[in-house]
């Protein structure tokens, strides 16, 4: 048989443990959403910066991930610094990003056509200290690939946001596979208030599907405003306080 692997010194093991613990419990920086209900629910009170987060879209136009795009852009808009956006196609319409507060001067695009190119490009961006966020459009995100992104993000403190894209049901299935993201969000369209005549602000169903150290939950919210902030619709907030308060809580 093969020879035994050399024994690992105890001191080395201790260092590993220490590092692992630091990673798990370090307070780190947080980005509050500016909505009490949402921030109150998130562990720490906001989105953890320097981590990998994942956004999927639900609804009739989920293939295009337009809402997931705006959700991610809204987060990047509220951070400081340049943003690297790794495209996987040509359908992104930049004027919409500016409308949620992500100014065109801040975004560097890198255009690719395959996951194989998107993921290394994201890693490269995450190694660049000082970027606000790296956003990537990805079909398949394996456990390994997500771990690599997460490690790169932790190293520099740059936040990684992955928007899941798919073209068919087979690819859509890939979006459900487990990965190392710190949180997973699903954004779907929600009918806007019928009593109002005009279109107004779009309503989103924002679901926190999975979060490290937190519970799954969903909210109905107003889409990102011109500064990238979500909002609780006033009318809905009253209703939820009165009758549906408990209805939103779901088992993790």
């Amino acid at each position: 048989m093969a020879q035994a692997s050399p024994p690992i010194p105890v001191a080395e093991l201790r260092r590993w443990l220490e590092r692992a613990e630091r990673r798990g419990h370090a307070p780190g920086l947080l980005l509050p959403f500016g909505v009490g209900e949402l921030d109150g629910h998130l562990p720490g009170g906001g989105l953890r910066l320097g981590h990998l987060h994942e956004v999927v879209e639900g609804g009739a136009a989920a293939t295009y991930a337009g809402l997931a795009t705006l959700f991610a852009a809204g987060i990047a808009a509220r951070l400081h610094g340049p943003v690297l956006w790794c495209l996987r196609g040509r359908d992104l319409f930049a004027p919409a990003l500016a409308r949620v507060g992500l100014h065109p001067d801040r975004v560097i695009y890198c255009e690719t056509w395959k996951d194989r190119d998107v993921l290394p490009a994201m890693e490269e961006g995450l190694r660049c200290k000082g970027l606000a966020a790296v956003i990537g459009e990805v079909t398949q995100l394996s456990l390994n690939a997500s771990r690599r992104l997460q490690l790169c993000a932790e190293e520099t403190g740059v936040t990684a946001l992955v928007i899941r894209r798919w073209r068919n049901t087979k690819e859509k299935g890939l979006a459900g596979e487990p990965n190392a993201a710190n949180s997973r969000w699903r954004v779907s369209p929600h009918p806007s208030n019928e009593e109002m005549e005009d279109m107004g602000r779009q309503q989103w169903r924002v679901e926190l599907v999975r979060a490290r150290g937190g519970e799954a939950r969903e909210w109905i919210m107003g889409a990102c405003d011109a500064k990238g902030y979500l909002a609780l619709p006033a009318a809905l907030a009253e209703r939820s306080a009165a009758a549906e308060g408990a209805g939103y809580r779901r088992a993790g």
Binding site: A61, F93, A98, L131, S192
Partner: protein, 468 residues
């Protein structure tokens, strides 16, 4: 030009060619055909010098350029075509620029120098896909093989006119009858024998070179070589106060074949660490073969670079001062520099023209799009045709069918009328679109438009989804 006692024509221009004159004709004969003929003495030395100048200019396309007197230039683009969006675009760019300089040239791109030589002079194809060189030259006359006129004449005598005929003959008898040159040229054109070209060295450019006593081939060794070359080159550039915008790494193999890799930089650089990283990324295009004897690194495009205090990435805190140029270069080398960009607003009525790509490090001016116009996050490259029914003309539809699914419209806003830009494209004089934002019953928002005027039964199109 003098040939023995006779004066013959060495070259003719377009007009003379049309008048029936050709190279090799005696001047007396030519003057009898065209009495007012203007004859200028040939100056082969000057021609050759001009060819070298042209070859040096061609270095913009590749570090491996070889003048091929009297009238040709070989450019090995294997390691640099990616910087020009591929071989076809490179070839088009080359022809266009030569034409703009008043040089009429024929160019062809193929697997081997020999086949490209023949195709440029005798062929119709200009771009041969990899591995198809032998097909492409099969029907060319044997003159396309760079053979001496006497050899061509004796081949003609036995009825061999085309390359394919020659290739089908037994090799040993060819060798016996016509000499080794025929086989050599045939093999070089078909690629079964490699041809070493000695590329010219542009003067005055910062260049470092390493020669090895033992040929090297190991990737780790190559990286070490890159490291050493970059350091030396950066020291030289520092002393001259310049930085590199383009670097050419050339490896000369033991079989005398040169392999090259080229990188472009978004601003002048002379930090070895950054250059090494970019060059190492391009090592994949290098085939060391049986080993590399000489390695050289040339900064073939330089710009002044003064000493300046940069804020290191590790110190940067405020977003505005982050230096992203290294990231931009790294991604540019990997994905092509055209694929790393920013999008700048364009004042245009048509949504598909609302932005243009600018280089990622282009100066920013703070301009953005008008804020009051709601726009979708995803705009379809080609609007998709939908079936829709509107109750009244100039009203939003009550429902529409997209990809076989019926969507009932709950809310709508519009129309926002957009006119074509006839000053951009004449076809757009008639173009009018009425855009509607609609919300389906499930809350999904769509961006539709109808070709106006509606009385012509204007069709409905879906142009985007996902509204902020």
């Amino acid at each position: 030009m003098m040939e023995g006692q006779r004066r013959i024509l060495a070259s003719v221009d377009d007009a003379a060619h049309r008048a029936g004159l050709s190279v090799g004709m005696t001047v007396t004969h030519a003057q009898s055909l065209v009495p007012e003929l203007c004859v200028v003495n040939a100056t082969p030395q000057e021609d050759e010098a001009a060819l070298v100048r042209l070859a040096i200019w061609c270095i913009r396309y590749s570090p491996l350029v070889t003048p091929d007197p009297p009238d040709g230039v070989f450019i090995d683009v294997a390691g640099s075509a990616h910087l020009f969006q591929g071989e076809a675009a490179l070839l088009a760019d080359l022809c266009e620029r030569l034409k703009a300089q008043g040089i009429s040239a024929k160019a062809a791109l193929s697997d081997t120098p020999g086949s490209a030589w023949g195709l440029a002079r005798f062929g119709q194809t200009v771009l041969v896909s990899p591995g198809r060189a032998s097909e492409a030259i099969a029907s060319l006359p044997i003159a396309a093989l760079r053979l001496a006129p006497s050899v061509i004449a004796s081949l003609h005598e036995v009825g061999i006119e085309r390359v394919a005929q020659l290739a089908s003959k037994p090799r040993s008898s060819l060798h016996l009858r016509f000499g080794g040159d025929v086989l050599l040229r045939l093999d070089q054109a078909l690629g079964s024998r490699q041809e070493a070209l000695s590329s010219i060295l542009p003067p005055e450019l910062p260049r470092t070179e390493l020669r090895f006593a033992e040929p090297i081939a190991d990737p780790e060794d190559l990286k070490r070589v890159i490291n050493k070359l970059s350091k030396a080159l950066c020291i030289e550039m520092l002393s001259r106060g310049i930085g590199a915008r383009r670097l050419d790494l050339v490896f000369l193999r033991v079989d005398n074949i040169a392999q090259s890799a080229r990188i472009g930089l978004s601003r002048p650089y002379r930090e070895p660490k950054h250059l090494v990283k970019l060059l190492a990324d391009r090592l994949v295009v290098i085939d060391p073969g049986f080993g590399i004897e000489i390695a050289s690194l040339t900064a073939s495009w330089v710009e002044a670079l003064a000493e300046r205090q940069t804020i290191g990435a590790h110190l940067a805190e405020d977003g505005s001062q982050v230096d992203v140029s290294q990231l931009v270069d790294t991604l540019g080398v990997r994905l092509g520099s055209k694929n790393v960009y920013r999008l700048a607003p364009v004042e245009s009525a048509l949504p598909e023209r609302a932005m243009r790509r600018v280089p990622a490090l282009h100066a920013t001016n703070g301009a953005a799009w008008p804020e009051h116009l709601p726009r979708p996050a995803r705009l379809f490259v080609h609007p998709e045709k939908i079936e829709a029914i509107a109750a009244i003309p100039d009203h939003p539809p009550r429902f529409f069918i997209w990809r076989g699914i019926r969507h009932i419209v709950a809310k709508a806003d519009g129309p926002e009328r957009i006119h074509g830009e006839w000053w951009v494209d004449e076809k757009e004089t008639q173009l009018v679109r009425d855009y509607y934002r609609v919300e389906a019953e499930d809350g999904t928002r769509y961006w539709l438009f109808r070709d106006a005027p509606t009385q012509d039964g204007g069709a409905w199109w879906l142009h985007g989804v996902g509204e902020a």
